[in-house]
Each structure stands twice: as structure tokens, then as C-alpha cells.
């Protein structure tokens, strides 16, 4: 398989997995890659909203797995980027709608269609959906907030990635783990109210691939159905661009991790 499978996972809910999946997939498409982003959260479809294609969902992931639609019918082409496609989650309540064989077949077919990257947006938790989202992955982006329960959960997820994936089972070499710290607030870190980048790296024993500052632009972007990476003026958008570049192998220094002193114009006009 030449397509690279990237799972975006976290264990804990509400930390920014879907926001990250949308921005990561869009960023890879901007870099010229052919990308599919799949919502694995069966029953709770959300990625379509964040990508802004919710009204164009006809067939979903489960339809494809069950042979009720072809992959081509179910892939929703992004309005902004030619090489970006979304595969929506089903809204069925049947949690067993996805099977390992079914997921494998879809990933193989995407590979045959010439996709460079498949981004798997994992549901929260460590149940079947989360397991299936990570099972075939080559890379994992573990999204973590600087908060105790999120850090603890991400350590469990790192453990599962190292043991419960196809790569681990076959001994194909470890999955590449990328830790992404989101909702970071440098001002609160500075006064000792929030775990720092270094704290989180030390606790989990892995370096971050990116730090996304807490930003009102993230909510604004999801309100509008535009992945925040496309908001080039926002710190969060720029931090996602940096993160995608690093995942593609580029070296970039961390930004927005120190308290910013706002200049006069920023104060007046925002920024």
C-alpha cells in the first residue's frame, strides 16, 4: 500500500480531534497531496460540518462497507481543493456497522484510487470505533489538551498504538506517533495555572509535533464550516500549517507558545 494512513485520536472527547482532522487533511491537500478524510464516529457524524459539506452527504462510510454505495459515490469532493475528499460517518445507531475487513477494503480501494493520504478521524474512547480507526494506521496524531485527564488518556492511547495496531501485531515497525498539544494558553502557563509544553512532553516521554494555541478563531471556523487552517490570519491556523509541514518532514520552530505582547494595531484591530 502506498497511501499513508494517519489516525487522529486522543481517548478523551472534546480535545480537538475533528478540528485537527479537518485542518490536517486540508493542509495535506494544500501541499498538493491527494487526501481522503474519513469520519469513524459511527452514529455521531460531525466531520462533515467542520469541513462544510454537510448538505452534500448522500452516502456514508457504512454504506460503502456494506456495498450499498461505491466508494466514488460516497466520497464528497471538497469545494475548495480538487484533491481533497470527505467520507462521512453513518448516523446509524448500530455500533457494529463497521468491521475490520470492511475498513481494510475501503482503505485498499482508496490506495488503488491513487490517494496519497487517508486521515482517519477517530471517535473518543477506546471502543471498537476508535480501535478500527487506529488499526491500519502508519502515523498517529495524538491530540492532547494541557489538562490532567486528557494527558492521562493520551498515555493510554499511546500504549494502545504501540500494541493494538496492525503494524504492532505484524512487527512491521512502530507506528509514527505525533503528539499535538491543542487549546494551549501561554498566559495561563506563564502564571503556573496550566501544564507547559515541556511538562506534557516530560510526562508522556514524547515530543510535540505542534502546539495549537487556544483561539476564538477555532469556533469561528467551525461555525462557518471552514477548516481553521484556512484562516491564515489566526494563530491557530498558522500553527496547524506548521504542524502539517512538520508531519511532511519539514523543520519548523514552535510558535505561539510564549505570551504575546499585543502591539497597538493588534489591540485596536484584533489579531
Amino acid at each position: 500500500m502506498t497511501a499513508e494512513i494517519i489516525v487522529v485520536t486522543s481517548g478523551k472527547g472534546g480535545v480537538g480531534k475533528t478540528t485537527t482532522s479537518a485542518s490536517l487533511a486540508t493542509g495535506l491537500a494544500i501541499a498538493g497531496k491527494k487526501v481522503a478524510v474519513i469520519d469513524f464516529d459511527v452514529g455521531l457524524r460531525n466531520l462533515d460540518l467542520i469541513m462544510g459539506c454537510e448538505r452534500r452527504v448522500v452516502y456514508d462510510f457504512v454504506n460503502v462497507v456494506h456495498g450499498e454505495a461505491t466508494l466514488k459515490q460516497a466520497l464528497i469532493k471538497d469545494k475548495r481543493y480538487e484533491t481533497l475528499y470527505v467520507l462521512a460517518a453513518s448516523q446509524t445507531r448500530d455500533k457494529d456497522a463497521l468491521t475490520q475487513e470492511g475498513v481494510e477494503k475501503v482503505l485498499e480501494d482508496l490506495d488503488k484510487e491513487g490517494f496519497d493520504y487517508v486521515v482517519c478521524d477517530s471517535p473518543a474512547g477506546i471502543e471498537k470505533g476508535a480501535h478500527l480507526a487506529m488499526y491500519f494506521a502508519d502515523h498517529a496524531v495524538v491530540v492532547v489538551n494541557p489538562e490532567v485527564s486528557s494527558v492521562r488518556d493520551s498515555d493510554r492511547i499511546l500504549g494502545l498504538l504501540a500494541s493494538k495496531t496492525r503494524r504492532a501485531e505484524r512487527g512491521d515497525g512502530a507506528i509514527k506517533q505525533h503528539l499535538l498539544l491543542t487549546r494551549y494558553n501561554p498566559a495561563r502557563v506563564a502564571v503556573g495555572e496550566m501544564l507547559s509544553v515541556k511538562d506534557v512532553e516530560e510526562i508522556l516521554g514524547i515530543n510535540v509535533v505542534g502546539v495549537i494555541p487556544e483561539s476564538e478563531n477555532v469556533l469561528a471556523a467551525s461555525n462557518a464550516g471552514v477548516p481553521v487552517i484556512l484562516d491564515e490570519n489566526s494563530f491557530a491556523g498558522q500553527a496547524y500549517s506548521d504542524t502539517v509541514a512538520r508531519i511532511l518532514g519539514e523543520e519548523r520552530a514552535l510558535r505561539f507558545t510564549e505570551v504575546q505582547k499585543k502591539g497597538f494595531f493588534q489591540r485596536v484591530f484584533g489579531g
Partner: protein, 90 residues
């Protein structure tokens, strides 16, 4: 403590507390990761038996499963208190 003391008190560096708590729990959870599900139960039952003879806490019992090529080693250590007071075994 005076009524106005809270005005003088500096905010606690809660991030330090968070880090320390996480350091401990993460290390503990890693040590039992991938181990059989019965280990916590085994630990509790062992504690009951040991308590018949010495006073020890749950924390004093450390269970580790080490994997070597082809076999697993169940490693058990019990930290006895300084002045272990033996009970009558009755």
C-alpha cells in the same frame, strides 16, 4: 486564619501539582500496561493474605509483568514496614 488572609495568599501553582500527580499515575499505569486483567484482583487478594501477618498498604505491593522472549515473568515485591510487627498467625 484571618478573614483577609485570602487577599495576601498567592495563587497556588496548580500546574506543578498536576504534573506531579500525572507523573505518578502515568508511571503506575505504564507498569501494568498489557498485563493480564486479573492483576489488580491478585494484588488485592495478596494484600489480604499479607495483612494477616504484617501491616502493609496497597501501595507497598508492586506487581510487574516482564516479557522476555517466549516467556513472562510475574514479579512481585512487598515493601515491609520498618518495624514489621508480626501478628500471631493464630
Amino acid at each position: 486564619m484571618g478573614i483577609l488572609d485570602f487577599l495576601k495568599r498567592k495563587p497556588e501553582p496548580t500546574a506543578t501539582v498536576a504534573k506531579e500527580r500525572l507523573r505518578i499515575i502515568v508511571a503506575q499505569e505504564r507498569s501494568t500496561r498489557g498485563a493480564p486483567d486479573y492483576l489488580p484482583l491478585l494484588r488485592n487478594e495478596l494484600l489480604e493474605v499479607i495483612k494477616k501477618y504484617v501491616h502493609v498498604d496497597l501501595e507497598a505491593i508492586n506487581i510487574n509483568v516482564e516479557r522476555d522472549s517466549g516467556h513472562e515473568i510475574l514479579e512481585l515485591s512487598v515493601a515491609l514496614p520498618d518495624h514489621a510487627q508480626a501478628k500471631s498467625a493464630g
